[in-house]
Protein backbone atom coordinates (compact mmCIF):
# COMPACT_ATOMS: atom_id res chain seq x y z
CA UNK A 1 0.00 0.00 0.00
CA UNK A 2 1.30 3.46 -0.89
CA UNK A 3 1.20 6.43 1.47
CA UNK A 4 -1.64 7.95 -0.57
CA UNK A 5 -3.62 4.73 -0.34
CA UNK A 6 -3.14 4.63 3.43
CA UNK A 7 -4.33 8.23 3.74
CA UNK A 8 -7.29 7.39 1.49
CA UNK A 9 -8.20 4.37 3.64
CA UNK A 10 -7.99 6.60 6.72
CA UNK A 11 -10.22 9.16 4.99
CA UNK A 12 -12.81 6.43 4.35
CA UNK A 13 -12.45 5.26 7.96
CA UNK A 14 -13.02 8.79 9.27
CA UNK A 15 -16.19 9.07 7.22
CA UNK A 16 -17.48 5.66 8.20
CA UNK A 17 -16.81 5.15 11.88
CA UNK A 18 -19.53 7.56 12.97
CA UNK A 19 -22.01 5.80 10.71
CA UNK A 20 -21.05 2.45 12.19
CA UNK A 21 -21.40 3.68 15.77
CA UNK A 22 -24.28 6.09 15.56
CA UNK A 23 -26.48 5.01 12.65
CA UNK A 24 -30.14 5.16 13.61
CA UNK A 25 -30.77 1.93 11.79
CA UNK A 26 -28.13 0.26 14.00
CA UNK A 27 -29.75 0.98 17.38
CA UNK A 28 -30.94 -2.60 17.68
CA UNK A 29 -27.31 -3.77 17.66
CA UNK A 30 -26.74 -1.99 20.97
CA UNK A 31 -29.84 -3.72 22.32
CA UNK A 32 -28.42 -7.09 21.25
CA UNK A 33 -25.19 -6.35 23.09
CA UNK A 34 -27.12 -5.16 26.12
CA UNK A 35 -29.35 -8.22 26.33
CA UNK A 36 -26.97 -10.66 28.12
CA UNK A 37 -25.79 -7.87 30.44
CA UNK A 38 -29.38 -7.32 31.49
CA UNK A 39 -29.86 -11.08 31.97
CA UNK A 40 -26.74 -11.49 34.10
CA UNK A 41 -27.43 -8.26 35.94
CA UNK A 42 -30.95 -9.44 36.72
CA UNK A 43 -29.54 -12.75 37.92
CA UNK A 44 -27.10 -10.99 40.25
CA UNK A 45 -29.76 -8.63 41.60
CA UNK A 46 -32.03 -11.57 42.39
CA UNK A 47 -29.20 -13.41 44.13
CA UNK A 48 -28.32 -10.31 46.16
CA UNK A 49 -32.00 -9.84 47.09
CA UNK A 50 -32.36 -13.39 48.34
CA UNK A 51 -28.95 -13.05 50.00
CA UNK A 52 -27.63 -16.34 48.71
CA UNK A 53 -24.87 -16.29 46.10
CA UNK A 54 -24.86 -19.26 43.73
CA UNK A 55 -22.12 -21.74 43.16
CA UNK A 56 -19.16 -19.91 41.60
CA UNK A 57 -18.17 -22.85 39.39
CA UNK A 58 -21.74 -23.23 38.18
CA UNK A 59 -21.94 -19.56 37.15
CA UNK A 60 -18.62 -19.87 35.35
CA UNK A 61 -19.92 -22.85 33.38
CA UNK A 62 -23.18 -21.06 32.64
CA UNK A 63 -21.19 -18.10 31.31
CA UNK A 64 -19.15 -20.43 29.07
CA UNK A 65 -22.33 -22.06 27.73
CA UNK A 66 -24.27 -18.86 27.16
CA UNK A 67 -21.20 -17.30 25.55
CA UNK A 68 -20.90 -20.05 22.97
CA UNK A 69 -24.53 -21.01 22.39
CA UNK A 70 -26.23 -17.65 22.65
CA UNK A 71 -23.77 -14.80 22.53
CA UNK A 72 -21.37 -15.83 19.76
CA UNK A 73 -23.79 -17.75 17.57
CA UNK A 74 -26.72 -15.37 17.76
CA UNK A 75 -25.97 -11.95 19.22
CA UNK A 76 -22.52 -11.29 17.80
CA UNK A 77 -23.57 -13.04 14.60
CA UNK A 78 -26.65 -10.88 14.02
CA UNK A 79 -24.85 -7.80 15.30
CA UNK A 80 -22.30 -8.35 12.55
CA UNK A 81 -25.14 -8.81 10.05
CA UNK A 82 -26.40 -5.37 11.07
CA UNK A 83 -23.06 -3.61 11.02
CA UNK A 84 -21.28 -5.20 8.08
CA UNK A 85 -24.12 -5.90 5.65
CA UNK A 86 -24.87 -2.18 5.83
CA UNK A 87 -21.38 -1.05 4.88
CA UNK A 88 -22.27 -1.10 1.20
CA UNK A 89 -25.93 -2.03 1.34
CA UNK A 90 -26.67 1.09 3.39
CA UNK A 91 -24.98 3.26 0.77
CA UNK A 92 -27.08 1.67 -1.95
CA UNK A 93 -30.27 2.25 0.07
CA UNK A 94 -29.22 5.88 0.64
CA UNK A 95 -28.19 6.14 -3.03
CA UNK A 96 -24.82 7.52 -2.04
CA UNK A 97 -22.40 4.79 -3.10
CA UNK A 98 -21.39 6.82 -6.16
CA UNK A 99 -19.69 9.26 -3.76
CA UNK A 100 -16.97 6.65 -3.28
CA UNK A 101 -17.06 5.21 -6.77
CA UNK A 102 -16.35 8.60 -8.33
CA UNK A 103 -13.32 9.32 -6.18
CA UNK A 104 -9.79 8.46 -7.29
CA UNK A 105 -9.66 5.60 -4.80
CA UNK A 106 -9.32 1.92 -5.56
CA UNK A 107 -12.45 0.11 -4.50
CA UNK A 108 -10.48 -2.33 -2.36
CA UNK A 109 -9.23 0.70 -0.39
CA UNK A 110 -12.83 1.79 0.13
CA UNK A 111 -13.61 -1.74 1.36
CA UNK A 112 -10.60 -1.69 3.68
CA UNK A 113 -11.59 1.67 5.19
CA UNK A 114 -15.23 0.72 5.58
CA UNK A 115 -14.38 -2.69 7.01
CA UNK A 116 -11.96 -1.18 9.53
CA UNK A 117 -14.69 1.24 10.65
CA UNK A 118 -17.25 -1.57 10.98
CA UNK A 119 -14.77 -3.77 12.82
CA UNK A 120 -13.90 -0.99 15.25
CA UNK A 121 -17.57 -0.50 16.04
CA UNK A 122 -18.29 -4.23 16.32
CA UNK A 123 -15.30 -4.87 18.58
CA UNK A 124 -16.04 -1.84 20.73
CA UNK A 125 -19.70 -2.80 21.20
CA UNK A 126 -19.39 -6.55 21.62
CA UNK A 127 -16.10 -6.72 23.53
CA UNK A 128 -17.43 -4.10 25.93
CA UNK A 129 -20.54 -6.23 26.26
CA UNK A 130 -18.41 -9.31 27.03
CA UNK A 131 -16.57 -7.45 29.79
CA UNK A 132 -19.79 -6.05 31.20
CA UNK A 133 -21.46 -9.47 31.10
CA UNK A 134 -18.55 -10.85 33.09
CA UNK A 135 -18.87 -8.06 35.62
CA UNK A 136 -22.67 -8.37 35.81
CA UNK A 137 -22.61 -12.15 36.28
CA UNK A 138 -20.16 -12.09 39.16
CA UNK A 139 -21.50 -8.91 40.76
CA UNK A 140 -23.29 -10.82 43.51
CA UNK A 141 -20.17 -12.65 44.68
CA UNK A 142 -18.02 -11.47 47.51
CA UNK A 143 -15.26 -9.14 46.32
CA UNK A 144 -12.51 -11.23 47.92
CA UNK A 145 -13.77 -14.29 46.03
CA UNK A 146 -13.71 -12.27 42.81
CA UNK A 147 -10.17 -11.04 43.45
CA UNK A 148 -9.10 -14.61 44.12
CA UNK A 149 -10.70 -15.77 40.86
CA UNK A 150 -9.41 -12.91 38.74
CA UNK A 151 -5.87 -12.68 39.99
CA UNK A 152 -5.04 -16.15 41.29
CA UNK A 153 -7.34 -18.50 39.41
CA UNK A 154 -7.06 -17.57 35.71
CA UNK A 155 -10.11 -15.29 35.89
CA UNK A 156 -8.39 -12.49 34.02
CA UNK A 157 -6.99 -14.94 31.47
CA UNK A 158 -10.50 -16.32 30.92
CA UNK A 159 -11.90 -12.85 30.51
CA UNK A 160 -9.08 -11.98 28.11
CA UNK A 161 -9.81 -15.11 26.09
CA UNK A 162 -13.53 -14.34 25.91
CA UNK A 163 -12.77 -10.80 24.77
CA UNK A 164 -10.29 -12.08 22.18
CA UNK A 165 -12.78 -14.68 20.91
CA UNK A 166 -15.43 -11.95 20.67
CA UNK A 167 -13.04 -9.78 18.67
CA UNK A 168 -12.18 -12.69 16.39
CA UNK A 169 -15.89 -13.45 15.97
CA UNK A 170 -16.42 -9.81 14.91
CA UNK A 171 -13.57 -10.14 12.44
CA UNK A 172 -14.75 -13.48 11.05
CA UNK A 173 -18.46 -12.75 10.82
CA UNK A 174 -17.67 -9.18 9.81
CA UNK A 175 -15.76 -10.36 6.76
CA UNK A 176 -18.53 -12.84 5.91
CA UNK A 177 -21.19 -10.14 5.96
CA UNK A 178 -19.07 -7.40 4.42
CA UNK A 179 -18.59 -9.68 1.42
CA UNK A 180 -22.25 -10.79 1.45
CA UNK A 181 -23.41 -7.16 1.63
CA UNK A 182 -21.59 -6.41 -1.62
CA UNK A 183 -23.07 -9.45 -3.36
CA UNK A 184 -26.65 -9.65 -2.06
CA UNK A 185 -29.41 -7.09 -2.01
CA UNK A 186 -31.41 -8.78 0.73
CA UNK A 187 -29.49 -9.38 3.98
CA UNK A 188 -31.99 -11.93 5.25
CA UNK A 189 -31.09 -14.60 2.72
CA UNK A 190 -27.33 -14.76 3.35
CA UNK A 191 -27.87 -14.33 7.10
CA UNK A 192 -30.31 -17.26 7.15
CA UNK A 193 -28.05 -19.48 5.04
CA UNK A 194 -24.97 -18.69 7.11
CA UNK A 195 -26.69 -19.09 10.48
CA UNK A 196 -27.84 -22.56 9.40
CA UNK A 197 -24.36 -23.38 8.07
CA UNK A 198 -22.74 -22.29 11.33
CA UNK A 199 -25.32 -24.17 13.41
CA UNK A 200 -24.85 -27.33 11.38
CA UNK A 201 -21.08 -27.14 11.73
CA UNK A 202 -20.95 -29.90 14.35
CA UNK A 203 -22.82 -32.28 12.06
CA UNK A 204 -20.73 -31.65 8.96
CA UNK A 205 -17.84 -33.79 7.66
CA UNK A 206 -14.47 -32.72 9.06
CA UNK A 207 -13.37 -31.05 5.81
CA UNK A 208 -16.47 -28.87 5.56
CA UNK A 209 -16.31 -27.89 9.22
CA UNK A 210 -13.19 -25.89 8.46
CA UNK A 211 -15.22 -23.55 6.23
CA UNK A 212 -17.00 -21.94 9.09
CA UNK A 213 -16.01 -19.28 11.59
CA UNK A 214 -17.47 -21.01 14.63
CA UNK A 215 -15.25 -24.05 14.05
CA UNK A 216 -12.19 -21.98 14.92
CA UNK A 217 -13.87 -19.97 17.67
CA UNK A 218 -14.97 -23.11 19.50
CA UNK A 219 -11.35 -24.16 19.85
CA UNK A 220 -10.47 -20.82 21.43
CA UNK A 221 -13.14 -20.67 24.12
CA UNK A 222 -11.37 -21.04 27.47
CA UNK A 223 -13.86 -23.14 29.41
CA UNK A 224 -15.94 -26.25 28.92
CA UNK A 225 -19.68 -25.80 28.66
CA UNK A 226 -22.08 -27.05 31.29
CA UNK A 227 -22.39 -30.85 31.34
CA UNK A 228 -26.14 -30.41 31.85
CA UNK A 229 -26.81 -28.94 28.42
CA UNK A 230 -28.98 -31.05 26.11
CA UNK A 231 -27.17 -33.45 23.78
CA UNK A 232 -27.93 -31.49 20.59
CA UNK A 233 -26.53 -28.30 22.11
CA UNK A 234 -23.43 -30.18 23.11
CA UNK A 235 -23.00 -31.22 19.49
CA UNK A 236 -23.28 -27.60 18.51
CA UNK A 237 -20.66 -26.25 20.84
CA UNK A 238 -18.18 -29.03 21.56
CA UNK A 239 -15.30 -29.35 19.18
CA UNK A 240 -14.41 -33.06 18.95
CA UNK A 241 -11.02 -32.21 17.49
CA UNK A 242 -9.99 -28.90 19.05
CA UNK A 243 -7.24 -27.01 17.29
CA UNK A 244 -4.20 -25.37 18.80
CA UNK A 245 -4.99 -21.71 19.56
CA UNK A 246 -2.38 -20.50 17.09
CA UNK A 247 -3.94 -22.56 14.29
CA UNK A 248 -7.45 -21.48 15.23
CA UNK A 249 -6.51 -17.79 15.18
CA UNK A 250 -4.71 -18.30 11.85
CA UNK A 251 -7.80 -20.08 10.54
CA UNK A 252 -10.08 -17.13 11.36
CA UNK A 253 -7.59 -14.65 9.90
CA UNK A 254 -7.19 -16.70 6.71
CA UNK A 255 -10.96 -17.12 6.29
CA UNK A 256 -11.44 -13.39 6.78
CA UNK A 257 -8.75 -12.51 4.31
CA UNK A 258 -10.21 -14.84 1.68
CA UNK A 259 -13.70 -13.45 2.18
CA UNK A 260 -12.48 -9.86 1.95
CA UNK A 261 -10.56 -10.66 -1.22
CA UNK A 262 -13.73 -12.18 -2.68
CA UNK A 263 -15.66 -9.07 -1.59
CA UNK A 264 -13.07 -6.83 -3.16
CA UNK A 265 -13.22 -8.77 -6.43
CA UNK A 266 -16.97 -8.41 -6.44
CA UNK A 267 -16.85 -4.72 -5.54
CA UNK A 268 -14.63 -3.97 -8.51
CA UNK A 269 -17.36 -5.36 -10.75
CA UNK A 270 -20.20 -3.59 -8.98
CA UNK A 271 -22.19 -1.10 -11.04
CA UNK A 272 -24.28 1.76 -9.78
CA UNK A 273 -27.83 1.09 -10.76
CA UNK A 274 -30.02 2.44 -7.99
CA UNK A 275 -33.10 2.15 -10.17
CA UNK A 276 -32.80 -1.63 -10.05
CA UNK A 277 -32.86 -1.65 -6.24
Amino acid sequence: MTTTQISQALAVFRLEWKKSFFARRGLWIYLLALMPIVLYGGHSIIQIKIGRPCDFGMDTTIFATVFQVFYLRLLVFFGCVGIFMNLFRGEVLDRSLHFYFLAPVRREIVLAGKFAAGLTAAIAVFCTSTIMQFAALYAHFDSSLMREYLFHNNGLAHLGSYVAVTALACLGYGSVFAAAGIRYRNPIIPAAVIVVWEAANGFLPAVLQKFSIIYYLKSLCPLEISPDVPKFLELLVVNPEPMAPFLAVTGVLAMSLLLLLAGSWRLQRTEINYAAE
Binding site: D94, F101, A103, P104, I272
Partner: protein, 318 residues
Protein backbone atom coordinates in the same frame (compact mmCIF):
# COMPACT_ATOMS: atom_id res chain seq x y z
CA UNK B 1 0.08 19.81 -29.89
CA UNK B 2 0.66 16.98 -32.38
CA UNK B 3 -2.24 15.02 -33.88
CA UNK B 4 -1.38 12.02 -31.75
CA UNK B 5 -1.23 14.09 -28.60
CA UNK B 6 -4.47 15.80 -29.50
CA UNK B 7 -6.12 12.43 -30.16
CA UNK B 8 -4.89 11.07 -26.86
CA UNK B 9 -6.69 13.94 -25.11
CA UNK B 10 -10.03 12.68 -26.31
CA UNK B 11 -12.82 10.68 -24.77
CA UNK B 12 -13.31 7.59 -26.85
CA UNK B 13 -16.12 5.09 -27.09
CA UNK B 14 -15.16 2.10 -29.19
CA UNK B 15 -18.17 0.12 -30.40
CA UNK B 16 -19.78 0.35 -26.96
CA UNK B 17 -23.04 -1.39 -26.13
CA UNK B 18 -24.75 -1.59 -22.80
CA UNK B 19 -27.68 -3.85 -22.02
CA UNK B 20 -29.54 -4.01 -18.71
CA UNK B 21 -30.61 -7.61 -18.96
CA UNK B 22 -32.71 -7.60 -22.12
CA UNK B 23 -33.19 -3.85 -22.08
CA UNK B 24 -31.01 -1.78 -24.39
CA UNK B 25 -29.12 1.10 -22.82
CA UNK B 26 -26.96 2.17 -25.75
CA UNK B 27 -25.92 0.21 -28.81
CA UNK B 28 -22.79 0.24 -30.95
CA UNK B 29 -21.64 3.68 -29.93
CA UNK B 30 -18.36 4.83 -31.41
CA UNK B 31 -17.37 8.37 -30.50
CA UNK B 32 -14.29 10.48 -30.12
CA UNK B 33 -15.09 13.59 -28.13
CA UNK B 34 -12.74 16.58 -28.45
CA UNK B 35 -12.28 19.36 -25.85
CA UNK B 36 -14.97 22.01 -25.54
CA UNK B 37 -18.59 21.79 -24.53
CA UNK B 38 -20.38 18.74 -25.83
CA UNK B 39 -24.09 18.36 -25.20
CA UNK B 40 -25.92 15.07 -25.12
CA UNK B 41 -29.42 15.55 -26.39
CA UNK B 42 -32.23 13.05 -26.66
CA UNK B 43 -35.62 12.11 -25.26
CA UNK B 44 -36.19 10.24 -22.00
CA UNK B 45 -34.66 6.79 -22.18
CA UNK B 46 -32.54 7.63 -25.20
CA UNK B 47 -29.34 6.65 -23.37
CA UNK B 48 -27.85 10.00 -22.25
CA UNK B 49 -27.32 9.02 -18.63
CA UNK B 50 -26.18 5.55 -19.64
CA UNK B 51 -23.54 7.14 -21.86
CA UNK B 52 -22.40 9.38 -19.01
CA UNK B 53 -22.33 6.53 -16.51
CA UNK B 54 -20.30 4.47 -18.97
CA UNK B 55 -17.94 7.40 -19.46
CA UNK B 56 -17.31 7.59 -15.71
CA UNK B 57 -17.20 3.88 -14.96
CA UNK B 58 -20.33 3.77 -12.79
CA UNK B 59 -21.51 1.07 -15.17
CA UNK B 60 -19.47 -1.16 -17.46
CA UNK B 61 -20.08 -1.76 -21.13
CA UNK B 62 -21.52 -5.09 -22.17
CA UNK B 63 -19.33 -4.78 -25.22
CA UNK B 64 -16.60 -2.39 -26.38
CA UNK B 65 -14.45 -0.05 -24.33
CA UNK B 66 -14.57 3.49 -23.02
CA UNK B 67 -11.43 5.48 -22.33
CA UNK B 68 -10.75 9.00 -21.19
CA UNK B 69 -7.38 10.19 -22.47
CA UNK B 70 -6.53 6.53 -22.94
CA UNK B 71 -7.26 5.70 -19.29
CA UNK B 72 -9.87 3.14 -18.31
CA UNK B 73 -12.10 3.62 -15.27
CA UNK B 74 -10.74 0.32 -13.94
CA UNK B 75 -7.72 2.42 -12.93
CA UNK B 76 -9.63 4.85 -10.67
CA UNK B 77 -6.56 6.44 -9.12
CA UNK B 78 -5.53 7.91 -12.49
CA UNK B 79 -8.97 8.08 -14.07
CA UNK B 80 -10.74 10.19 -11.45
CA UNK B 81 -7.88 12.66 -11.25
CA UNK B 82 -8.91 13.59 -14.79
CA UNK B 83 -12.68 13.24 -14.46
CA UNK B 84 -15.31 14.98 -12.35
CA UNK B 85 -18.91 13.83 -12.56
CA UNK B 86 -21.90 15.81 -11.38
CA UNK B 87 -24.52 13.07 -11.39
CA UNK B 88 -28.26 13.34 -11.62
CA UNK B 89 -28.53 11.46 -8.28
CA UNK B 90 -29.93 13.97 -5.85
CA UNK B 91 -28.63 12.06 -2.86
CA UNK B 92 -25.66 12.62 -0.60
CA UNK B 93 -23.90 10.78 2.21
CA UNK B 94 -26.09 11.13 5.28
CA UNK B 95 -25.79 14.11 7.57
CA UNK B 96 -23.10 15.95 5.64
CA UNK B 97 -22.85 19.70 5.29
CA UNK B 98 -21.94 21.20 1.94
CA UNK B 99 -18.41 21.87 3.19
CA UNK B 100 -17.98 18.31 4.47
CA UNK B 101 -19.24 16.90 1.16
CA UNK B 102 -16.53 18.65 -0.83
CA UNK B 103 -13.85 18.43 1.87
CA UNK B 104 -14.23 14.68 2.43
CA UNK B 105 -14.08 14.06 -1.32
CA UNK B 106 -10.76 15.92 -1.41
CA UNK B 107 -9.45 13.88 1.52
CA UNK B 108 -10.37 10.75 -0.44
CA UNK B 109 -8.49 12.28 -3.33
CA UNK B 110 -5.43 12.24 -1.07
CA UNK B 111 -5.18 15.94 -0.17
CA UNK B 112 -3.85 16.95 3.23
CA UNK B 113 -6.28 18.62 5.62
CA UNK B 114 -4.88 22.05 4.76
CA UNK B 115 -4.97 21.54 0.99
CA UNK B 116 -8.46 20.07 1.19
CA UNK B 117 -9.72 23.01 3.23
CA UNK B 118 -8.28 25.53 0.78
CA UNK B 119 -9.61 23.76 -2.31
CA UNK B 120 -12.99 23.25 -0.67
CA UNK B 121 -13.47 26.95 -0.01
CA UNK B 122 -12.25 27.83 -3.48
CA UNK B 123 -14.78 25.57 -5.19
CA UNK B 124 -17.59 26.55 -2.81
CA UNK B 125 -16.90 30.20 -3.56
CA UNK B 126 -17.01 29.45 -7.29
CA UNK B 127 -20.60 28.23 -6.96
CA UNK B 128 -21.58 31.00 -4.51
CA UNK B 129 -22.44 28.77 -1.58
CA UNK B 130 -20.10 30.19 1.05
CA UNK B 131 -22.86 31.26 3.42
CA UNK B 132 -24.59 27.88 3.26
CA UNK B 133 -21.39 25.82 3.40
CA UNK B 134 -21.86 24.69 6.98
CA UNK B 135 -25.53 23.87 6.63
CA UNK B 136 -26.66 20.27 6.18
CA UNK B 137 -27.17 19.39 2.51
CA UNK B 138 -30.52 17.86 3.48
CA UNK B 139 -31.73 21.42 4.14
CA UNK B 140 -30.52 22.74 0.77
CA UNK B 141 -32.87 23.72 -2.03
CA UNK B 142 -32.71 21.83 -5.32
CA UNK B 143 -30.60 24.58 -6.89
CA UNK B 144 -28.16 24.60 -3.95
CA UNK B 145 -27.80 20.84 -4.16
CA UNK B 146 -27.00 21.17 -7.86
CA UNK B 147 -24.38 23.77 -7.07
CA UNK B 148 -22.71 21.80 -4.29
CA UNK B 149 -22.54 18.79 -6.64
CA UNK B 150 -20.89 21.04 -9.18
CA UNK B 151 -18.44 22.28 -6.54
CA UNK B 152 -17.55 18.70 -5.69
CA UNK B 153 -17.16 17.66 -9.32
CA UNK B 154 -14.76 20.53 -10.03
CA UNK B 155 -12.91 20.85 -6.72
CA UNK B 156 -9.94 18.71 -7.75
CA UNK B 157 -9.43 20.51 -11.07
CA UNK B 158 -10.39 17.72 -13.47
CA UNK B 159 -9.76 17.87 -17.22
CA UNK B 160 -13.11 16.28 -18.01
CA UNK B 161 -16.30 17.48 -16.40
CA UNK B 162 -19.37 15.32 -16.94
CA UNK B 163 -22.66 16.96 -15.97
CA UNK B 164 -26.00 15.20 -16.02
CA UNK B 165 -28.75 17.84 -16.35
CA UNK B 166 -26.62 20.41 -14.48
CA UNK B 167 -29.01 23.32 -15.00
CA UNK B 168 -32.03 21.61 -13.48
CA UNK B 169 -33.45 23.52 -10.56
CA UNK B 170 -31.27 26.61 -11.01
CA UNK B 171 -32.89 30.01 -11.10
CA UNK B 172 -32.27 32.14 -14.23
CA UNK B 173 -29.47 34.19 -12.69
CA UNK B 174 -27.55 31.20 -11.36
CA UNK B 175 -28.27 29.41 -14.62
CA UNK B 176 -26.57 32.18 -16.57
CA UNK B 177 -23.62 32.20 -14.14
CA UNK B 178 -23.27 28.45 -14.39
CA UNK B 179 -23.33 28.51 -18.18
CA UNK B 180 -20.67 31.23 -18.09
CA UNK B 181 -18.60 29.02 -15.79
CA UNK B 182 -18.89 26.09 -18.23
CA UNK B 183 -17.73 28.35 -21.03
CA UNK B 184 -14.71 29.51 -19.05
CA UNK B 185 -13.80 25.92 -18.18
CA UNK B 186 -14.13 24.87 -21.82
CA UNK B 187 -12.03 27.80 -23.00
CA UNK B 188 -9.33 26.63 -20.59
CA UNK B 189 -9.19 23.38 -22.57
CA UNK B 190 -11.49 21.29 -20.41
CA UNK B 191 -13.89 18.72 -21.85
CA UNK B 192 -17.33 19.64 -20.58
CA UNK B 193 -19.90 16.97 -21.38
CA UNK B 194 -23.43 17.80 -20.37
CA UNK B 195 -26.92 16.61 -20.95
CA UNK B 196 -29.75 19.04 -21.20
CA UNK B 197 -33.32 19.05 -22.39
CA UNK B 198 -33.41 22.81 -22.87
CA UNK B 199 -32.52 22.98 -26.54
CA UNK B 200 -32.04 26.72 -26.83
CA UNK B 201 -29.50 26.47 -24.02
CA UNK B 202 -27.78 23.63 -25.84
CA UNK B 203 -27.48 26.01 -28.78
CA UNK B 204 -26.04 28.75 -26.66
CA UNK B 205 -23.58 26.56 -24.80
CA UNK B 206 -22.38 23.78 -27.06
CA UNK B 207 -19.41 23.48 -29.32
CA UNK B 208 -20.77 20.14 -30.47
CA UNK B 209 -23.75 17.92 -29.85
CA UNK B 210 -24.36 14.19 -29.65
CA UNK B 211 -27.96 13.31 -30.42
CA UNK B 212 -29.33 10.07 -29.08
CA UNK B 213 -32.49 8.19 -29.79
CA UNK B 214 -33.46 4.75 -28.47
CA UNK B 215 -29.89 3.99 -27.45
CA UNK B 216 -28.33 4.92 -30.78
CA UNK B 217 -26.26 7.96 -31.65
CA UNK B 218 -28.18 9.55 -34.50
CA UNK B 219 -25.87 12.52 -35.02
CA UNK B 220 -22.72 14.04 -33.63
CA UNK B 221 -20.63 17.09 -34.37
CA UNK B 222 -21.16 20.84 -34.59
CA UNK B 223 -24.82 21.70 -34.92
CA UNK B 224 -24.34 23.40 -38.31
CA UNK B 225 -22.50 20.47 -39.80
CA UNK B 226 -25.10 18.07 -38.44
CA UNK B 227 -27.80 20.25 -39.95
CA UNK B 228 -26.10 20.34 -43.34
CA UNK B 229 -26.03 16.53 -43.38
CA UNK B 230 -29.81 16.33 -43.11
CA UNK B 231 -30.61 16.27 -46.84
CA UNK B 232 -34.28 15.36 -46.63
CA UNK B 233 -35.12 18.69 -45.00
CA UNK B 234 -34.13 21.71 -47.15
CA UNK B 235 -32.25 24.44 -45.27
CA UNK B 236 -34.42 27.37 -44.23
CA UNK B 237 -32.92 30.82 -44.57
CA UNK B 238 -34.48 34.14 -43.65
CA UNK B 239 -33.62 37.04 -45.96
CA UNK B 240 -34.56 40.53 -44.77
CA UNK B 241 -34.74 42.94 -47.74
CA UNK B 242 -36.64 45.87 -49.21
CA UNK B 243 -37.89 44.06 -52.36
CA UNK B 244 -38.73 40.52 -51.29
CA UNK B 245 -40.90 39.72 -54.37
CA UNK B 246 -38.05 40.65 -56.72
CA UNK B 247 -35.56 38.57 -54.75
CA UNK B 248 -37.99 35.63 -54.66
CA UNK B 249 -38.41 35.77 -58.44
CA UNK B 250 -34.64 35.64 -58.99
CA UNK B 251 -34.20 32.86 -56.45
CA UNK B 252 -36.82 30.69 -58.11
CA UNK B 253 -34.66 30.63 -61.23
CA UNK B 254 -32.34 28.29 -59.29
CA UNK B 255 -33.35 24.66 -59.07
CA UNK B 256 -31.92 24.14 -55.56
CA UNK B 257 -34.44 26.64 -54.15
CA UNK B 258 -37.58 24.68 -53.36
CA UNK B 259 -39.64 27.36 -51.67
CA UNK B 260 -39.57 31.11 -51.11
CA UNK B 261 -42.31 32.64 -49.02
CA UNK B 262 -42.70 36.41 -48.54
CA UNK B 263 -42.88 37.39 -44.90
CA UNK B 264 -46.13 38.85 -43.55
CA UNK B 265 -44.59 42.30 -42.97
CA UNK B 266 -43.44 42.49 -46.62
CA UNK B 267 -39.85 43.12 -45.49
CA UNK B 268 -38.34 39.71 -46.09
CA UNK B 269 -38.80 36.13 -47.14
CA UNK B 270 -38.23 32.61 -45.92
CA UNK B 271 -36.33 30.50 -48.42
CA UNK B 272 -35.96 26.73 -48.45
CA UNK B 273 -32.96 25.44 -50.37
CA UNK B 274 -31.28 22.09 -50.89
CA UNK B 275 -27.84 23.66 -51.26
CA UNK B 276 -27.08 26.45 -48.83
CA UNK B 277 -23.60 27.17 -50.21
CA UNK B 278 -24.88 27.77 -53.78
CA UNK B 279 -27.73 29.80 -52.35
CA UNK B 280 -25.37 32.14 -50.50
CA UNK B 281 -23.23 32.58 -53.63
CA UNK B 282 -26.33 33.41 -55.64
CA UNK B 283 -27.55 35.80 -52.98
CA UNK B 284 -24.27 37.70 -53.17
CA UNK B 285 -24.87 38.24 -56.89
CA UNK B 286 -28.47 39.32 -56.34
CA UNK B 287 -27.38 41.76 -53.63
CA UNK B 288 -25.25 43.59 -56.14
CA UNK B 289 -28.45 44.43 -58.11
CA UNK B 290 -29.66 46.83 -55.42
CA UNK B 291 -32.54 44.83 -53.94
CA UNK B 292 -31.62 46.14 -50.47
CA UNK B 293 -30.68 42.99 -48.62
CA UNK B 294 -30.38 43.91 -44.95
CA UNK B 295 -29.80 40.59 -43.23
CA UNK B 296 -29.47 36.90 -43.98
CA UNK B 297 -29.74 34.26 -41.29
CA UNK B 298 -30.29 30.52 -41.21
CA UNK B 299 -33.62 29.67 -39.63
CA UNK B 300 -33.21 26.00 -38.82
CA UNK B 301 -29.61 25.19 -38.04
CA UNK B 302 -30.19 25.24 -34.31
CA UNK B 303 -30.36 22.30 -31.96
CA UNK B 304 -34.13 22.50 -31.77
CA UNK B 305 -34.62 22.10 -35.52
CA UNK B 306 -31.95 19.45 -35.87
CA UNK B 307 -33.50 17.57 -32.99
CA UNK B 308 -36.92 17.83 -34.58
CA UNK B 309 -35.69 16.56 -37.94
CA UNK B 310 -33.69 13.68 -36.54
CA UNK B 311 -35.63 12.55 -33.53
CA UNK B 312 -39.08 13.95 -34.09
CA UNK B 313 -41.16 16.73 -32.67
CA UNK B 314 -43.54 14.36 -30.96
CA UNK B 315 -40.87 13.39 -28.44
CA UNK B 316 -39.88 15.71 -25.65
CA UNK B 317 -36.19 16.39 -25.46
CA UNK B 318 -35.58 15.10 -21.97
Amino acid sequence: MTDNASYSRRISFDDVSKFYGDVLGVNRVTLSIPPGITSLVGPNGSGKTTLMNLMTGLIRPTRGSVRVFGISSSDPERFFREVGYCTQFDTFPRGMTGYQFVYSFLRLYGCTALEADELTWRSIERVNLVEAAHRKIAAYSKGMRQRIKLAQATCHGPSVLVLDEPLNGLDPLVRAETIALFKVLAEDGMHVILSSHVLHEVDAISDQVIMLSNGYVVAEGQIRSVRSEIREHPMQIVVRCRKPAEVAAKLFEQEQVVEARVHGDGRGLLVKTRDADSFYRLLNKIALNGVGIEAVAPADDDANSVYEYLIGSEETAR
